[in-house]
């Protein structure tokens, strides 16, 4: 594990070179372990891809002879050791990973780029839907805008570049493909991913805690629904 400074109030713990299954599990567990310490002066913990970034308030650590960056690094190292020790136990890894199913109505007005993606991938639209809704995904990170999940696990046959000109407005719930990732727009926002469908689920609910339906590390499946079922959800 490498520990790098991110400016004067962040430490990045690098757990691997890529966001593979094992690394994502360790990222999720390290983030949870650091959160569980409830250490004062730790403002934010951001699991994303193969890294956990810890945001700290230097004024809470400085003075009294301690150096803030080093203190936070020690905390992360201690937490990482606890995660490692636990993973050595039987049934250590993988506990508590959530599985979330997302209903999606593909194509038509909900997926205006489905035909285009089919052409780019040299597949029939039905094959795009079939492959997209049968793959197993994992949330690599939440970002871009609040609540936007970046999902890894998109079959290579569905990889499609972003639009050269982003849309000025993408409807909430739109499911898109951006390169090797797929994702869901949590609310209406500009966006450049190719839209293949829409979910009736509200994936960002600012009045609830937590506000996001998904968290980094969650497993995700998509289930194809028709317009009638979409309407029934809304």
């Amino acid at each position: 594990m490498d520990l790098l400074p991110l400016g004067d109030c962040g430490v990045v713990a690098v757990l691997g070179g890529e966001a593979d299954e094992a690394t994502l599990g360790r990222v999720r567990e390290l983030a949870a372990e650091i959160a569980a310490t409830r250490a004062p002066g730790i403002l934010d913990i951001v699991p994303a891809y193969a890294r956990v970034t810890v945001v700290y308030d230097p004024a809470r650590f400085a003075g009294s002879g301690t150096r803030p960056f080093q203190t936070v690094c020690q905390l992360i190292t201690w937490c990482a050791a606890r995660v490692e020790a636990r993973s050595a136990e039987p049934r250590g890894h993988g506990g508590g990973v959530r599985e979330v199913e997302i209903p999606v109505c593909y194509g038509g007005e909900f997926g205006p780029d489905l035909q285009e993606v089919a052409q780019l991938c040299s597949l029939a639209p039905e094959e795009i839907i079939g492959r997209h809704s049968s793959a197993h995904y994992r949330v690599h990170a939440i970002g871009f805008v609040p609540g936007f999940p970046y999902l890894g696990g998109l079959p290579p046959s569905l990889h499609a570049p972003r639009r050269s000109t982003p849309r000025s407005s993408v409807p909430a719930g739109s499911v898109g493909i951006g390169g090797a990732q797929t994702g869901i727009y949590p609310f209406e926002t500009p966006g450049g991913w190719r839209l293949i469908g829409r979910t009736p689920l509200k994936i960002f609910r600012p009045r609830e805690t937590p506000p996001g339906l998904l968290r980094a590390g969650d497993r995700v499946r998509f289930r194809a629904i028709d317009a009638k079922e979409f309407a029934a959800w809304s």
Binding site: L6, A59, F148
Partner: protein, 307 residues
């Protein structure tokens, strides 16, 4: 008690010191762009530093006060509005702010704070997600903001020692610590001066170099970015991320503005010149601690000055 927005100004939002702890949800902390200005203005009316006030941008609003109200301004300077000292508005009186004469963002603290609803741990407005503040948006004419404890009184005569304030200016020297890509990119960031463009906003201060800087390939995987992170997109023109910036980024990071100097960037306008100077992480932390101690002393000094 309440205050009424007669004219909203260019971009006026309710802001506090942000909602930390939400970056894993993709939600930036947000809050006042010039946090020390809001903290100090709040202390000058007897508030907690984190109380919600108004952030006004370049052209201020016109506000009517329903009842006698103690307020204080900090940050950008507006003609005929006293900065950095508490003063009283009478019931029914209107405050017309007009354009800023120096700086970009002014802060109006109101005794007792502005009692908008807390959303996800903060009262600040995050415009992109439409949360916080008043209905998650900038203020409009006719808006009414609740100010439940506005009639506080100042005890005795005193004034702020202005040495506590950030060293504002229209060509600030902004201190940075190194980024992960510094070696590949050379030291152009430290030798050139940069012009602030009019594309700058609460998400980022966009700078223009005389000649575009040489950028590196975007990272294979996006990573967390923070206010102060300096991104270099492929066009070679750096962006300093600010309070409402997105939480993840894939562009090379060529440096990071230190926390205490974000206030200086909150006050620059299009056309202003910015230069950067490197400090060590230890120096950056010493400066953060010094700022915090100074504001702590002010808080202590003002503890018995209000009734």
């Amino acid at each position: 008690m309440e205050l009424k927005v007669m004219r909203p100004g260019m971009l006026t939002t309710v802001q506090d010191l942000g909602r930390p702890g939400m970056r894993a949800e993709g939600i930036p902390a947000g809050g006042a762009m010039d946090a020390p200005a809001l903290r100090i203005a709040n202390l000058l009316v007897g508030n907690e530093e984190c109380a919600a006030g108004l952030e006004v941008t370049l052209v201020g609003p016109e506000i009517e006060f329903a009842a006698e109200t103690l307020i204080a301004f900090g940050g950008a300077e507006f003609e005929s509005i006293p900065n950095w000292r508490p003063f009283r508005m009478r019931a029914g009186e209107r405050l017309h702010m007009g354009p800023a004469v120096r700086g970009c963002r002014g802060y109006m603290a109101v005794a007792g704070g502005i009692a908008v609803e807390t959303v996800l741990g903060g009262r600040g407005t995050h415009l992109q997600a439409g949360i916080g503040g008043l209905e998650g948006r900038a203020l409009r004419a006719g808006d009414v903001l609740p100010t439940p404890q506005a009639s506080r009184k100042v005890i005795g005569r005193w004034h702020l020692d202005e040495r506590i304030l950030p060293e504002y200016g229209d060509s600030p020297v902004v201190r940075i610590v190194r980024g992960a890509h510094e070696r590949e990119l050379g030291n152009a960031l430290l030798t050139e001066s940069f012009t602030v463009t009019n594309q700058s906003d609460r998400m980022g201060i966009r700078l223009e170099a005389a000649a575009p800087m040489r950028s590196a390939e975007p990272a294979a995987l996006s990573g967390a970015v923070l206010p102060g992170s300096i991104q270099l997109p492929p066009d070679g023109q750096p962006i300093v991320l600010m309070a409402d910036a997105q939480t993840l980024g894939g562009y090379p990071l060529i440096g990071h503005v230190i926390g205490p100097d974000l206030a200086l960037l909150a006050q620059v306008r299009a056309g202003d010149k910015v230069t950067f100077r490197e400090v060590s992480l230890d120096e950056a932390h010493a400066l953060a601690l010094a700022r915090d101690k100074a504001i702590g002393l002010l808080r202590h000094g003002l503890a018995e000055k209000f009734a």
